[in-house]
């Protein structure tokens, strides 16, 4: 079983006969000859031909996805996105697939860009697509940025530390949640913590709010001064900021944890009982 086979089955059971026939025929043509013009037209027509409904995925489907491609999160895909991914995967046999994708991106609309980037974990020889993924993050369109950054294992698997750190900073900058970034807690680093603190100071100086998720990258690198700062936030912040400060202190090793127990034992208890956590804060931000 491959991701392409799974996507094929998911589209087939939801699209009507006409849509399936069209898609099957276009895919066969692309498999035989991955022509840029043919691919661009098929990608454009896909929503009209197969429909734009949300893809109905069961827990079994998601488990199967994890099995055939560990880390792949197809939840939230629409029917047209899935159909577009099958077309792209058929065309991935092209001699220079990265060049083909780059060309497509110059004429694609936002929905097409989002579908293309959601396919990043599925394309062959992914390392050669890293620059393309970074380019997607440069988009000022939040939906395009999130198609690379959120629920996508590609950045954690292929990005350099510099590219990873820029993605995190930009997410905070544009108000995108950090929690849906795959591999978040595996890739925190001291350099990023430094940049996050600078950014927090800049925001504070301008009197602007700071995302509570920012502190998720601080705790494990916190020195005594940072612990003071976090302890201050425990008293002064709003509800989410207080939770974030407590979680960051908890991440900061024995000295941070001791400070948390001394200042706010109730938060220490809530963390131990899993009543508050980073992902819950991230989800609140994603919704708001």
């Amino acid at each position: 079983m491959t991701p392409l086979a799974l996507l094929t089955a998911w589209v087939a059971r939801q699209a009507d006969a006409q849509g399936n026939a069209w898609l099957g025929e276009r895919r066969a043509a692309l498999r035989a000859r991955p022509d840029a013009r043919m691919l661009a037209i098929a990608l454009g027509l896909a929503p009209r031909k197969v429909g734009k409904a949300a893809l109905d995925l069961s827990a079994d489907d998601l488990a199967m996805a994890e099995q055939v491609r560990p880390g792949w999160l197809p939840q939230g895909l629409s029917l047209d996105q899935a159909a577009r991914l099958t077309l792209l995967l058929e065309a991935s046999v092209a001699d220079d697939f990265p060049a083909l994708l780059k060309r497509l991106l110059t004429t694609s609309d936002l929905a097409e860009q989002i579908a293309l980037y959601r396919g990043l974990p599925l394309y062959p020889e992914p390392a050669r697509l890293t620059l393309l993924a970074v380019e997607g993050l440069r988009s000022a369109v939040r939906g395009v940025f999130e198609s690379v950054a959120h629920d996508n294992p590609f950045p954690a698997e292929h990005f350099s530390q510099e590219a990873w750190n820029q993605m995190l900073l930009k997410a905070l900058f544009i108000g995108a949640a950090l929690a849906p970034i795959v591999g978040l807690d595996r890739r925190w680093n001291a350099d990023l913590a430094h940049m996050l603190l600078d950014y927090a100071a800049e925001r504070a100086a301008a009197g602007r709010p700071i995302s509570p998720e920012l502190w998720r990258g601080i705790g494990r690198f916190a020195d005594a001064a940072h612990i003071e700062r976090l302890a201050g936030l425990l008293d002064s912040g709003d509800a989410l900021e207080r939770q974030a400060a407590a979680l960051a202190l908890n991440d900061a090793g024995p000295s941070g944890q001791a400070r948390l127990r001394a200042d706010q034992p109730e938060y220490a208890r809530m963390i131990a009982a899993n009543e508050i956590g980073w992902n819950a804060i991230g989800n609140r931000i994603k919704i708001s």
């Binding site: 037209i41 454009g44 497509l104 110059t106 609309d109 988009s139 369109v141």
Partner: protein, 347 residues
């Protein structure tokens, strides 16, 4: 004193005659019509607007006057593009940011894509555009290939016109035709002959920018006849009203063709009012200002009345490319559709 040749038609670049300038001035003198007289809930489709060169004031006024949807045909920019990159950016703009901008005013925005006849004369550019055009033609919200046809009626224009008819057939898209400003009558006939020669169904094609001299043949051959209410140079409201009185509603579509020149984004609702004042039945007015445009430009399924009838609240917070068109904290006042526009100033 109006000196002939001093004012150029912004659309074709040709010098306006003193008669045309005088007509323009007399037309402007009788406007604005009282748009407040529009029945509440009036809805219009303006199927030919170059919104890329219009202001937010125009969008506000159009929304207030009941324009629910606009079609933006790809054209030149008043000056030739120098490379295909400029064309790609233009097409991306009209399928992207301009659509978003219109949406911020509660107006649905669609477009047609094509290589226009003027730029077809730059062979290197034209070849490159033909290469990227198919990708844009298949996009969501693209209703037709257009505006295409003849300008100087050169061999190159003919070659790319024919190639684009074939592209429309391949992608099952209607066609919007730009008829030439010079040698118009013969150019229009030739355009239709070529479409017929390629087996293109006239019922899927709008011949735009008609006048009294061209309309009969267009309708007789079964094409849709578009009229651009473009003061001074193409068709005025009063003449248009006479044409509808004479020909009725079948096959006739009104548009403003508003662009960067002296044109009026409210031309469709204003002409509707003038037609009502002349006693033309509401059903006829609705056909030429709404139903007919929807019938032909809705053929590929990308434009449906539910797009605006079932639309929710306007999401003024929506960001495109990091830019809201609104300044911080600003909420635009969108007047109620049709009627009730109160003291809205039409300038």
């Amino acid at each position: 004193m109006d000196v002939p040749g001093e004012i150029a038609c912004p659309c074709c670049g040709e010098a306006l005659t003193s008669a045309q300038i005088a007509a323009l001035r007399s037309q402007l003198a009788v406007e604005p019509l009282e748009l407040t007289a529009l029945p509440a809930g009036s809805m219009f489709i303006d199927p030919h607007c170059h919104m890329i060169s219009r202001t937010t004031d125009d969008y506000l006024a159009m929304a207030a006057a009941g324009v629910v949807a606009v079609v933006e045909p790809a054209f030149w920019l008043g000056q030739p593009r120098t490379n295909v990159g400029a064309y790609i950016d233009y097409l991306s703009h009209i399928i992207g940011f301009e659509r978003f901008r219109a949406g911020q005013f509660g107006i649905r925005h669609y477009c047609t894509v094509g290589l226009n006849s003027k730029e077809a004369n730059d062979e290197a550019l034209a070849e490159a555009v033909m290469d990227i055009l198919p990708a844009f033609a298949a996009k969501e919200g693209v209703l037709a290939i257009g505006e295409i046809g003849y300008d100087d009626q050169t061999a190159l224009e003919d070659r790319y016109f024919r190639a684009q008819i074939e592209l429309a057939k391949e992608l099952d898209l209607p066609i919007m035709i730009h008829t030439p400003h010079r040698d118009k009558k013969r150019g229009t006939s030739r355009t239709m002959d070529v479409l017929v020669e390629h087996g293109f169904d006239p019922a899927r094609c709008v011949i735009d920018h008609n006048n009294e001299e061209t309309v009969r043949e267009v309708l007789d051959q079964g094409f849709w006849a578009g009229f651009s209410i473009y003061p001074g140079t193409k068709m005025g409201n009063a003449r248009m009203t006479e044409l509808v009185l004479h020909y009725g509603a079948a096959g006739i579509i009104l548009d403003s063709a508003c662009d960067w020149g002296n044109s009026d984004p409210l031309a469709v609702p204003k002409t509707a009012l003038m037609m009502a004042a002349r006693g033309i039945p509401a059903e006829t007015i609705r056909k030429v200002t709404y139903d007919n445009a929807l019938a032909v430009y809705g053929l590929n399924g990308e434009m449906k009345a539910t797009d605006w009838l079932d639309a929710g609240e306007i999401d003024h917070g929506a960001l495109f490319a990091g830019n809201s068109i609104l300044r911080a904290g600003e909420v635009p006042h969108i007047p109620r559709r049709g009627g009730g526009v109160g003291n809205l100033e039409i300038v």
